[in-house]
Symmetry: C2
Subunit: 307 residues, 2 copies
Amino acid sequence: MRAIARAITRVENAAGRDLSQLLRELFPHTGRAFVIGVTGSPGTGKSTLVDQLAHHYTNSGVKVGIILVDPTSPFSGGAILGDRVRMQSLFTNPGVFIRSMATRGKLGGLSAAVDEALMILDAANFEILIVETVGVGQDEVDIVKTAHATLVILVPGMGDDIQAFKAGIMEIGDIYVVNKADREGASAVEGELTELLSLATGRKDGWTPPIVQTVATQGKGIAELAEAIQDYRNLTGESGKTKGGIDLFRERIMELLARRLTATILGRIPDEKLDQYAEKMMTRELDPYTIVDHLLRELGFEEEFHG
Amino acid sequence: MRAIARAITRVENAAGRDLSQLLRELFPHTGRAFVIGVTGSPGTGKSTLVDQLAHHYTNSGVKVGIILVDPTSPFSGGAILGDRVRMQSLFTNPGVFIRSMATRGKLGGLSAAVDEALMILDAANFEILIVETVGVGQDEVDIVKTAHATLVILVPGMGDDIQAFKAGIMEIGDIYVVNKADREGASAVEGELTELLSLATGRKDGWTPPIVQTVATQGKGIAELAEAIQDYRNLTGESGKTKGGIDLFRERIMELLARRLTATILGRIPDEKLDQYAEKMMTRELDPYTIVDHLLRELGFEEEFHG
């Protein structure tokens, strides 16, 4: 467990620096875990649901790795551990590895760090991996949509603004969960959702996303949810044949290549030079496009790179 | 108005392709607009608030440009226009340019497209620019935190999960808005918020973020909000001296350089080659790090780039 934690910390702190030796050695041991992505807006009880689902798996002897993707505090750079208190029982469950991650700076990116953390857990023989994202941002959607199964969590009575939110995520869900289903309006949400889903064009894999009602705080509906996940897993086959298929691997190669190039090349620019140019941009003396042309020329890149 | 719309469409569709000639010519005419970032989770009434704020400015003859950043529909690639119906009056206000944007694909990035759209509006003499983001994702936070003034919208009674959400955004707000303040719990939210803010360490600019109560649907509190924005604007000085200062310009140069490099270099890799490598990665025959080494060698990059 400690070695895994250390490896993930290295990945998280890398931000462009190279950990390829570690990951290179781990890679052949990956591809066996099944990754479940969980998303939904704040207040939907995602944490409790993930907690219950994880215990459900470990009760049958399955090891579970959990990555919680938290909104970054933009100034302190750390992850926000707000509502994680209610997941404490997971921290003492020996069948569970749990880790909170947040992005630091843009280059490198959160989804790359999450991918690599999942790779580490996969290689360490965790059979079920759960990635939970708070919020509905683009990065968050990108992360959960590459999971083998994506769970979208809704709750009754989220107000009518939820229409926009639902539209944004309705296409990424493989399974929809109406949590807090003992509250008034649960069947109304399920009805609306059924209607929205019926408008969607058929999926390539022939799957019709089911809607599962849960009351996570009481453990209700968790077995049914696990069953729905297993049904989808049976349909799509074991891990490796992910939804994204070959495109997903293409994308990962491109991302890694972009990351390597960017880190190496940006690292060659002296800080003072960058400051000088930034100053000239601030005073509108030079536009950023001309600045980039200058920098590329100074770095020895040929004409083709110029704007 | 049409020329602006066309220019923004070009920026939005660029995704790595080069528009630097257009933007290069516009750049010297930028730096005059004041950019207001507005964020908050779904259901906080952001759209109505932006609508009211925009009318408030145009009533005093100030031209307002608005960029609405919407969650992308990952499959259709388009922006979700969910709750935009309640902003319709803005579309017919001659002093307002309004545009909804969404990201398409990762490379290039949403924040770059938004930056460029703001640049176009700035050059077109819009004095106030409003950027509204739905959700609390990383990209969204990145976008609003580079605004000259960042407004964070909360509402009474968002449930106790809001604690995590508030923590994630409390450091980015220059002004906090408790909207729907006629609802029960408005003073409770304000109290909690005051407490949270009092825990924060002092800001470099000496500003204490105020909390403004509004009922946007009735236009209540909008004048007070505009006043708070003006106070902050007076403190930080006119545009150009943004919160981020020189760092923001450094970051933009680095981003643009990374984008240019990535687009050019990735464009040189034949599709079939990428497919072959992706296939080998899927079968675990080759790890992605080794693949990137191969690709870099094939592209003519020297040893330094290798992992």
